[in-house]
């Protein structure tokens, strides 16, 4: 970035990654335009407006100094945790699981905010923890508690996907903080043992079904496996170059369910093919790499852990969604950020980007002058 001649507020904007994010967002709107059968309504237009409003918000957030995030990390975590409990207590029943908190003027999904909040909270915890304590037990159980509480409430809702993302976001920060690797190896082995038990005893019927059908989608081609089968058909029939803009049959003839939300990638892949898909994956990877690099450059433990953690949160969004759409993971209801129609994920990811840019700005300021 040779932007030294620009005025100060603009000089510290990471133009490259901003361009990528805008490109992904605009491409998402193009896909939504096609998913609506070649129409801005009902999705592309509102998604576009929201995208630019939220992007402006993210740029505004990038002006918030890092210490503010540090100070807000634990209180914000606490508030969101309370909100989660509130959802459990008085949340509106919606779609078989309680996720929304209706405040009258806005419907909030507190679990969505918990995804960045858990990263901030864990980062703050390891920031506070003296370096010498890192290899002690005291470095583990508070973090485990920080992660376990919200994850438990979210899974109670029940929202398996989000619960898993909260866990993985927190665990990523734990990993980055320097906790002995063998704990993760042991934890991984424990997971291998416990996951089948959990599937059998802890999950709701519909969740267990989704997992069983994920393992053998053809067993139920017209039921729950329908989503995966049709999504694979959409991607597979797209070929290398795709069927062409507005030419997707799976999406336009309604064979692909949720073609504008969770399965938007399949809608895209059918029309843009392997090329479109790889470019989109590459764009996401570049954004995530930038996030990790922000962490590498950052000074201070909190900033480093936060940046890498948030980048990984974005990664988890993309990876889980794509694995689900391509039949590599069960259908868990994680949208593709910036592309899928819907406000929550968009809000979360742009919030993550805002915080990342804020950390980046801080770093540049120090190094640039």
């Amino acid at each position: 970035m040779s932007a030294r001649r620009l005025p100060e507020p603009l000089a510290h904007v990471p133009w490259g990654v901003l361009g990528l994010v805008v490109a992904i967002g605009l491409f998402g709107q193009v896909v939504l335009y096609s998913a609506a059968g070649g129409s801005l309504r009902p999705w592309a237009w509102s998604q576009g407006i929201r995208f630019f409003v939220l992007l402006a918000g993210a740029l505004a957030l990038s002006r918030v100094p890092e210490r503010m995030w540090k100070a807000a990390a634990l209180p914000a975590y606490g508030i969101i945790l309370l909100a989660l409990i509130a959802v459990e207590a008085l949340g509106e029943v919606s779609g078989g699981s309680r996720r929304w908190l209706d405040l009258g003027f806005i419907r909030l999904q507190p679990s969505e905010f918990m995804k960045p909040a858990i990263v901030l909270a864990c980062a703050r915890f390891y920031d506070i923890l003296p370096p010498s304590e890192i290899r002690r037990f005291g470095a583990i159980w508070p973090a485990a508690l920080l992660i376990g509480l919200p994850a438990a409430f979210v899974m109670l809702q029940p929202d398996l996907g989000t619960g898993l993302m909260i866990c993985m976001g927190g665990v990523t920060v734990m990993f980055l903080s320097g906790i002995p690797v063998r704990l993760f190896v042991g934890g991984g082995l424990a997971a291998v043992v416990t996951i089948p038990l959990a599937i059998n005893f802890l999950l709701h019927d519909y969740q267990r079904n989704r997992i069983l059908i994920f393992l053998n989608p053809e067993s139920d081609p017209l039921g729950t496996g329908y989503h995966i089968s049709q999504s694979k058909i959409a991607i597979g029939s797209g070929g290398i170059w795709g069927k062409g803009f507005l030419q997707g049959t799976q999406s336009h003839l309604d064979y692909l369910p949720e073609g504008h939300t969770d399965f938007v990638f399949a809608t895209m892949a059918e029309e843009w093919g392997l090329v479109g898909g790889c470019l989109l994956i590459l764009a996401f990877l570049l954004v995530i790499r930038w996030g990790i690099e922000v962490g590498q450059r950052a000074e201070g433990r909190f900033a480093r852990l936060t940046a890498a953690g948030l980048a990984t949160t974005i990664f988890f969004y993309v990876a889980i969604n794509l694995m689900m759409v391509m039949g590599l993971a069960p259908v868990v209801g994680i949208p593709l950020p910036l592309v899928s129609f819907g406000s929550s994920a968009q809000l979360t990811v742009l919030l993550c980007l805002g915080i990342l840019m804020s950390i980046d700005r801080q770093t540049r300021k120090k190094s640039g002058f």
């Binding site: 890192i134 290899r135 058909i233 003839l253 480093r304 990984t312 990876a319």
Partner: protein, 696 residues
């Protein structure tokens, strides 16, 4: 945790972070590669598979049943054709159970379905194999068809189609000729997995020519392709592949004659065959009463089936090829020929005293007082039994049987019908093989007047008379492109054949027993031979008190009435056989001589034949359709069926295989065995048969 000696400082922590962050980044890049690889696998390696799946999602191809080839008569007139048909079906797969009653209620309103229809549809839906469409209604008028079509969104699984339905303009008159068509059975589908078999509206031949000519008549289906949404909404019609209609099958039948003969048989349970004496072409082949192939093709109700099965006139049997009867005196011209071929002079006389003693028994002539001295021509003309008893007693039946076979009796003919029964021309070897008993004189005597072991079907009788009339070994044919022209001459003296023909002329025109058959067409004459075949024993005791009149007997015990004839005598052109089961010669206009005469008159002077029919038909209750409707109404009233019995029997037994037909044939065999003189008990004399004059 204190055992680790490493001292963790902020610097080492930053270093550890950096390493682990790169590791994390690398892992993320790895997952990215994995995803790209997975996507490439789906969209490149498996592209063909998924393209196919996507296309089969997008394109909904419905087969269009091919138009069935027509069956046409020798002049090109339709015997079976197709007419436009508006029909409505349900695909059980696509009709969710909870919706069923609502959909049926709406359909009832739109199509004015009767409770009987509804009951049948429910039964069919319960039994349906999912892939098999259930017929709601066919032959709909446009208004009702359109009413369903516009409300389709409310009617899941309901499928209105415009197609073709088989139509037999002559109705029952051609039933046993054409057979009928019907929906394929689940077994047929399982055997071939041909999607055409489960296409609504597709029907295949179930019996008769429709069945045997199926490969020729079927054709190749077309396909209607449409782009549809996941909810089945039509987006666009794609290119339609037209069907290839089946080929027409041209028959040797004259459909006008066929219909005339069917009507002329009236209320009889009988059959009539006419053969062209020059080529062997079958001009008509009628078996009455019959079912209506039009209603069979729609799927008939249990009630109709039951009514047809229980009818003692066996409407389900094609009597021409499946009915076996003792030929009675109709074989006498043939026996005369056999005698001459074995050296008997036609002028040699036999004295008929009314009875002939053979061994311990007495054989009677049908004329109690006897005919006096008779030569061969007069013996045939008067149908004298004693002449043939005496002559064939001298000759032995083993000399006669080969000639009977040469004339077509007991012979199999290659005809496109699934079931044919060929009867028996007995001789000593046959009897020894079958009953392990030697041939007796009484056997010869019984066979000499066409009784005893002799059994023939009406087609064979027609071939016999056609061969006598033409002097050639004609082979009957029914497909216009399989006519056996240029049949060789029979290995008989032409003078002998001429004597047999003259004798037959005398039967009708020379004061013989068949005078009623005299042709009324000026300048042309008809030759023939009547016959009566007894189906019961007449005991000595009965003979003493007077043989019971047929009118006094129950239907099943009455004599069969037969006639073989040909015309014109001078240059034989048409030969016919008429066989009436249990007719008993009770009503003159319904007896063989008049019927035979009128059928041949139709070919020689159509207007005269039609005028006669117009005169006599009202006396027995009108034409075929009128009588069948009246019969069904009466049966329905008498049996007031529960609705279930009126439900369609979609996989009804094919008439040729119906139990009723089996039974009728078994009866012929039982009668034969019962009348055979070998059964222990009364003397042969009591087994002698009588010939009542057919012209009393």
């Amino acid at each position: 945790m204190k055992r680790t000696g490493r001292i963790v400082t902020e610097a080492t922590q930053a270093y550890s972070f950096s390493r682990r962050a790169w590791l994390l980044g690398g892992a993320q890049a790895g997952v990215g590669l994995l995803l790209a690889g997975r996507m490439a696998w789906l969209s490149v390696a498996q592209n063909a598979k998924y393209n196919l799946l996507s296309e089969s999602n997008r394109v909904n191809a419905t087969l269009v049943p091919p138009r069935r080839g027509w069956i046409i008569d020798r002049h090109g007139l339709p015997i079976a054709n197709n007419r436009t048909d508006f029909r409505v079906d349900i695909l059980p797969d696509r009709l969710p159970k909870p919706e069923r009653e609502r959909v049926l209620a709406l359909l009832t309103k739109l199509l004015q379905l009767t409770p009987e229809d509804l009951e049948r549809i429910r039964i069919d839906l319960d039994r349906a194999a999912g892939f098999q469409p259930v017929q709601i209604a066919e032959k709909l008028d446009w208004d009702r068809f359109a009413a369903v079509s516009v409300r389709l969104p409310e009617l899941p699984g309901v499928q209105p189609t415009r197609g073709f339905a088989r139509h037999y303009p002559a109705g029952a008159a051609v039933a046993h000729l054409t057979g009928y068509v019907g929906a394929p059975t689940a077994e047929q589908y399982r055997a071939t997995h041909d999607a055409l078999l489960v296409t609504p509206g597709f029907k295949l031949g179930k019996d008769g020519l429709e069945k045997t000519l199926e490969p020729m008549l079927r054709g190749k289906p077309g396909a209607r392709r449409a782009e549809v949404t996941a909810r089945g909404k039509l987006v666009a019609e794609l290119a339609t592949k037209p069907d290839v209609p089946g080929r027409n099958a041209r028959l040797t039948i004259d459909v006008g004659l066929q219909e005339y003969a069917a009507r002329r048989l009236g209320t009889n349970s009988g059959s009539a065959v006419v053969i062209d004496c020059r080529t062997g072409e079958m001009l008509c082949m009628v078996s009455m009463p019959a079912y209506d192939p039009n209603s069979f093709s729609d799927g008939i109700s249990h009630l109709e089936w039951e009514m047809l099965s229980k009818n003692d006139h066996v409407p389900l049997m094609n009597k021409v090829t499946q009915g076996l009867y003792p030929p009675g005196s109709t074989v006498k011209p043939m026996h005369a020929l056999a005698l001459m071929e074995n050296g008997v002079s036609p002028d040699e006389r036999v004295f008929c005293s009314g009875a002939l003693r053979v061994g311990t028994g007495v054989f009677h002539c049908h004329k109690r007082g006897g005919h006096g001295p008779l030569d061969m021509r007069n013996a045939v003309a008067q149908s004298c039994d004693i002449y043939f008893y005496e002559m064939i007693r001298r000759l032995g039946y083993d000399k006669v049987a080969p000639i009977a076979r040469d004339l077509g009796l007991g012979q199999k003919f290659e005809l496109p019908f699934t079931t044919q029964r060929y009867g028996t021309v007995p001789d000593s070897a046959w009897k020894l093989g079958k009953y392990k008993r030697p041939w007796t004189v009484a056997d010869s005597l019984n066979a000499s007047i066409g009784q005893g072991y002799v059994l023939t079907n009406p087609l064979q009788l027609a071939v016999m008379v056609a061969r006598i009339a033409s002097g050639r070994a004609l082979v009957p044919s029914i497909l216009a492109d399989h006519v056996h022209r240029d049949a060789p001459a029979l290995p008989f003296q032409s003078e002998n054949l001429q004597v047999a023909r003259e004798a037959m002329w005398k039967v009708v025109n020379g004061g013989g027993t068949g005078a009623a058959a005299r042709l009324l067409v000026p300048g042309l004459s008809l030759a023939g031979k009547t016959g009566t075949a007894q189906v019961r024993r007449i005991t000595m005791a009965e003979r003493r008190v007077g043989v019971l009149k047929n009118a006094q007997l129950p239907f099943k015990l009455r004599d069969h009435a037969l006639l073989v004839c040909f015309a014109p005598v001078e240059n034989p052109r048409y030969a016919a056989a008429v066989v009436l089961e249990h007719n008993g010669h009770t009503v003159r206009t319904l007896d063989t001589p008049y019927i035979g005469r009128d059928i041949l008159t139709y070919l020689l002077d159509r207007d005269r034949a039609l005028a006669t029919l117009a005169e006599v038909e009202p006396t027995w209750g009108g034409d075929i359709a009128t009588r069948m409707a009246a019969e069904e109404a009466a049966y329905r009233t008498a049996h007031s069926p529960p609705p279930a019995a009126a439900a369609t029997k979609t996989d009804a037994v094919v008439p040729s295989d119906a139990p009723a037909v089996e039974e009728a044939t078994a009866l012929a065999n039982r009668t034969q065995a019962a009348l055979s003189p070998d059964t222990p008990g009364p003397s042969v004399a009591e087994d002698g048969t009588t010939e009542r004059s057919t012209d009393e």
